[in-house]
Symmetry: C2
Subunit: 159 residues, 2 copies
C-alpha cells in the first residue's frame, strides 16, 4: 500500500522540561501530569524512554516557550515531592511533524526525515513516533529550511 502523508508541519517557539531520577513505579506519571494540568500548562509531547537504571527513569515534555517558566516551577515542585534527581530544560526549539496513515508499515518515513535533517546539519534532539505521526524536536534555527526541504522530499507522498 503506497505511503500516504497528510501533512508536514512546523511548530516553533517550543521549550522542553526533563525530569531525571523519576521513580519508575505506578502513580508517578499520573501525579506529575495531573499537577502540570492543574497549573494550566498545556503539554504537547511527552516522551519517556528506558534509562537503563533500576527503579528510575527520565521523562520529558514540551510546552510553548511562554509556558516554560511555569513548567519549570511545577517540575521543581514535582521533583521535591517525589525526590527526583534533577530538572533540566531547553528552549529555542521547534517541533517538526510528519503526519500520515499506517506509518508502521512505512518505517522509512522516519529514516527519510532523519536523513533530510542530517543533510542540513540539524541535530535531532527528541523523537516520538507513532502509527500516525513522526515528531522530532530540533533547534529552531534551521527549522524553516528543514520544513521546505521536507515538503520537497516527501512531495510525491503528500496528499
Amino acid at each position: 500500500e503506497a505511503l500516504t502523508l497528510t501533512g508536514i508541519s512546523l511548530t516553533k517557539e517550543q521549550a522542553r522540561v526533563t525530569l531525571y531520577g523519576v521513580p519508575d513505579k505506578p502513580g508517578i506519571a499520573a501525579d506529575m501530569f495531573e499537577t502540570i494540568g492543574e497549573a494550566k500548562i498545556f503539554v504537547d509531547m511527552i516522551v519517556q524512554g528506558y534509562d537503563g537504571e533500576d527503579g528510575s527513569t527520565s521523562v520529558s515534555f514540551t510546552v510553548n516557550q511562554s509556558d516554560l517558566k511555569s513548567g519549570l516551577e511545577v517540575a521543581v515542585a514535582i521533583r521535591e515531592k517525589h525526590g527526583m534527581r534533577d530538572v533540566q530544560d531547553g528552549s529555542d526549539i521547534a517541533k517538526i511533524t510528519v503526519s500520515g496513515i499506517g506509518l508502521r508499515s512505512h518505517t522509512n518515513v522516519a529514516t527519510v526525515l532523519f536523513k533530510q535533517l542530517t543533510d542540513l546539519g540539524i541535530n535531532i534532539e527528541m523523537v516520538g513516533t507513532s502509527e500516525l505521526q513522526v515528531n522530532v524536536i530540533v533547534n529552531e534555527e534551521k527549522s524553516d529550511a528543514a520544513l521546505e526541504r521536507l515538503r520537497q522530499a516527501f512531495a510525491s507522498s503528500l496528499e
Copy 2:
C-alpha cells in the same frame, strides 16, 4: 471544543530495544534506522528523550516480539559501528494507544490514561504522545484488563 477520541487499541507481543551512549550528533539516527530498515525490521515506536549527558543520549524502539532477535543483532552491529555504550531489551510488553484529535488542547487525556493504569497497578514503561495519539508501553500481563477499563473510562468521549 469537546474531546473527541477515535479509538483505543492494544497491541500485544511487542518488544523493545534501547541503545545507550548514542552519539548525539547529526547523522546517527538516520544511520541507525536505515540499517534497521535494511534488515527488514518494522519499527513501531521510536522514542528519544534527553539523557542529561553531554554529547550522548539513548534511543528506544519497539518491534513485534518475533523481530526482537534480529532487532538485537542489528542494534549490536550499530553499537559496534558507532561505539555506543550498551544495548538493552525487553519483551512481553504491549502498546496501548488512545487516538483522537487535537490532544494538545486536551492534555488531560494522558493524565486520565496514566491514572487508569496506575489504579490497576500497572507500571508505565515507555511513553510517546502527540496531537493525535497517546501511546504507552506496559507489561503484557494486565493489558487486556487495562484496555477494558480505558474503554469504559473514555466512553463518553469515544466516537
